[in-house]
């Protein structure tokens, strides 16, 4: 083994070992959980969870809006269950929770991530989620559930509200119960005759959202992808934008986990107030896999599915040299134009970025990697600041690409993707302004001084009226990725100035999770449309969310 390998193993081997070096360790609780068992990287192929299949129509509890085309309605049934999966060939089977297509018999779905939804704009979906989690479950995780369609523009009862509250339809599924979710996949503004066709998502995901237990439940495995196509982003290399498609369009969920010596999940949500970090890196539910690729372009949809770990992803070669790629989308959908020559995707928990890598630039037989170049020792955040994160040269390799033979490549990455207008200054000037400060108080996390109270909205937001929200990090050195449901945000300013990074530039990109680094303050623009009712916004460091950093807001 070379020194670099020792370093890498050491970094992967246990956040606690590096505690003493961290001058910010004031007040940290020293857990020193034992490191996960060692595993050999890049010995198993990347799994690709299957696409969800339809079921016969059923009488749904929810009703798509009148603007939906009922002839195109598709029905799905998804089961939340406990199952055993193989995270790595050198480990015993791991007990996890995950979603499964109801059309697949129990015991025949070996993946950690749930099946992938394919959605098409204007084609409505109804999904019956069924909770078959074990009622007699012992250990972390609460077997009740709600399902949040993250990035979706849907009604309140279908959005995954975290708890049952007075005056609102029951949403929580106890074991044995189900809940129907309607996803009309209509453009925001549809209900007032002003659908915004430029405001479409691309890579969404679905995951548990139960109050107080989201961190534990998502950590156990309850998440999956939802990919959104339309006449521009067609899913075909011969129509629309002709982006890499089919087998060359690969969704990658990146997650950190910690395992005990028996290969079982280890988690602490009760005392790890900063946020829980794992020391094993999973891609699509297995530890450090490889993917055979052809010498052509691929589209990769990166999702940081970790509870608290921030990722700084670069494409690197055998010598850890950083290589460029094209950035084509954030979680807010396709960019107005590709950002070419990107070298870093800075992803907070729950953020997505889509990149196109052209493997034709490498010879057959080459090996290149997705590498995490951030160092993070606790849930506070990675080293450095958001504006200037500390990047390491020899980070942890998550995924190995093995370059194979040349093939034809009909795909394109055109110079124009999905253009949209930046918010006009006159609209910003006339917008209602609100400020939300995220900080720690009374042993928990608060927004504007209050911990979560789903009985009381922190704001009542009128539909179709411009809003500018100032989101402030109240200090203390923590990073907070803030997620607001229902609509994408336009980022107007970061720390008083127009946002620097291309993935935050209004007119270029939108987001649904915005990172507040230490002392960060951002201003974001919203127009809340179509769906009245209670929704939530919250920090997406799940241990912060579960320790009360969430607020209800009502669209009225």
């Amino acid at each position: 083994m070379r020194r670099r390998d020792f370093l890498r193993l050491g970094m992967a081997g246990g956040a606690g070992l590096f505690g003493a070096r961290n001058a910010r360790a004031v007040g940290r609780v020293l857990h020193d959980p034992p490191p996960s068992p060692r595993t050999t990287p890049f010995v198993q192929a990347l799994p690709v969870p299957p696409l969800l299949t339809t079921v016969d129509p059923f009488n749904a509890e929810c009703t798509p809006p009148p603007q939906s085309d009922p002839t195109r309605l598709r029905f799905y049934r998804v089961i939340a269950e406990e199952r055993l999966v193989r995270l790595h060939p050198e480990l015993p089977l791991t007990r996890v929770w995950g979603y499964r297509d109801a059309n697949t018999p129990r015991g025949q779905y070996p993946f950690l991530p749930g099946p992938t939804f394919i959605g098409r704009s204007q084609e409505p979906i109804v999904v019956r989620h069924v909770n078959e989690l074990p009622a007699d479950h012992v250990g972390f995780g609460e077997p009740s559930s709600t399902v949040h369609f993250h990035g979706g523009h849907v009604e309140a009862r279908s959005d995954g509200f975290p708890e049952d509250i007075d005056g609102f339809e029951a949403v929580v599924m106890r074991p044995g119960e189900s809940h129907d979710y309607c996803y009309p996949l209509l453009d925001p503004g549809f209900s007032t005759g002003e659908p915004d066709v430029t405001d479409r998502p691309s890579t969404l995901w679905y995951h548990d959202h139960l109050l107080d237990f989201t961190g534990a439940n998502v950590y156990r495995g309850l998440s999956g992808f939802f990919l959104y196509f339309d006449e521009l982003d067609t899913g075909s290399e011969f129509a629309g934008l002709r982006l890499p498609s089919g087998e060359f369009d690969v969704a990658l969920v990146l997650q950190d986990r910690r395992l005990d010596r028996n290969g079982q999940l280890v988690y602490d949500g009760l005392t790890d107030h900063n946020g829980f970090l794992g020391d094993k890196y999973l891609v699509n539910g297995v530890i450090q896999p490889f993917l055979d690729v052809k010498r052509r372009k691929y589209r990769f949809r990166l999702l940081n599915g970790s509870n608290a770990r921030f990722l700084g992803i670069s494409l690197t070669d055998r010598d850890d040299r950083v290589l460029p790629y094209d950035l084509i989308a954030t979680e807010g959908g396709l960019l107005a134009a590709p950002a070419r020559g990107q070298k870093l995707s800075l992803l907070s928990p729950a953020q997505r970025e889509e990149i196109v890598i052209d493997f034709a630039q490498f010879p057959e037989g080459a090996r290149v990697y997705l590498m995490n170049r951030l160092e993070q020792e606790d849930g506070r955040g990675p080293r450095g600041t958001f504006e200037d994160p500390e990047l390491v040269r020899h980070g942890t390799r998550l995924l190995e690409f093995r370059v194979g033979p040349t093939v034809d490549d009909p795909s394109r990455v055109p110079d124009v993707l999905r253009p949209f207008e930046a918010i006009a200054q006159s609209v910003i000037d006339g917008a209602r302004r609100r400020t939300f400060e995220f900080e720690r108080r009374h042993g928990g996390w608060v927004i504007n001084g209050e911990g979560v109270d789903l009985d009381r909205p922190i704001a009542r937001v009128p539909r179709n009226e411009p809003e500018v929200w100032k989101l402030k990090n109240g200090g203390g050195g923590w990073w907070h990725p803030i997620h607001i449901h229902v609509e994408f945000m336009h980022v107007l300013k970061r720390d008083g100035k127009r946002a620097n990074r291309v993935e935050e530039r209004d007119g270029m990109a939108k987001r649904d999770v915005i990172t507040l680094g230490p002392n960060s303050e951002v201003e974001v623009f919203f127009l809340f449309r179509d769906f009245p009712g209670p929704f939530v916004f919250h920090c997406h460091t799940l241990e912060h969310e579960d320790a009360f950093m969430m607020a209800r807001f009502d669209i009225v």
Partner: protein, 198 residues
Amino acid sequence: MSRARRLWAALLAAPLLACHGAEERSVSAPPSPFEPIPDVALVTQDGRSLRFYEDLVRGRTVVVQFFFTDCQGVCPLSTGKLLQMQELLGPRLGRDIFFLSITLDPAHDTPAVLAEHARSVGAGPGWTFLTGAAEDIELLRRRLGVFDLDPAIDADRNQHAGVLVLGNDKKQRWTMRPATLPAGFLNEAVLRLAADPR
């Protein structure tokens, strides 16, 4: 956790410290959340000596409040919530659900003081007030996650965390809720945690 077990845990941790340079730990042998709940000795308002895990937690659903009788800050609020929950739970309190109020000021809150406090707030059966050795209570508090990440704030009893810790030992599931939540909400959380899967 007994002294012997704590010493053993500290010895196990010592090689890790030696590898990367010893750091002064402000809390001696901080409890690991991956080990069982500490079984420290406590004394009730009636003067009975009990062990925290074996006698008060094992097999039960508990709501744990850290407070002290002179507290002017968040304690009256959380005590008020417990009173409302006592009403809502009725006979279940003391059957499978128990309230444990543990003092952060054992020097002042003797069993007699706790007994008077319990009587004056109207605490009924199933709600136990506890004191003990300061370092044992400290261990318990940290093990249950009731602490501030800023050691300066954490050292100030008057700014202690306004949370209630909920735990179901049979299910090995623990969580916490802010005491600022409506009592009904808190009660629902306790009932769900206590729910018998049958």
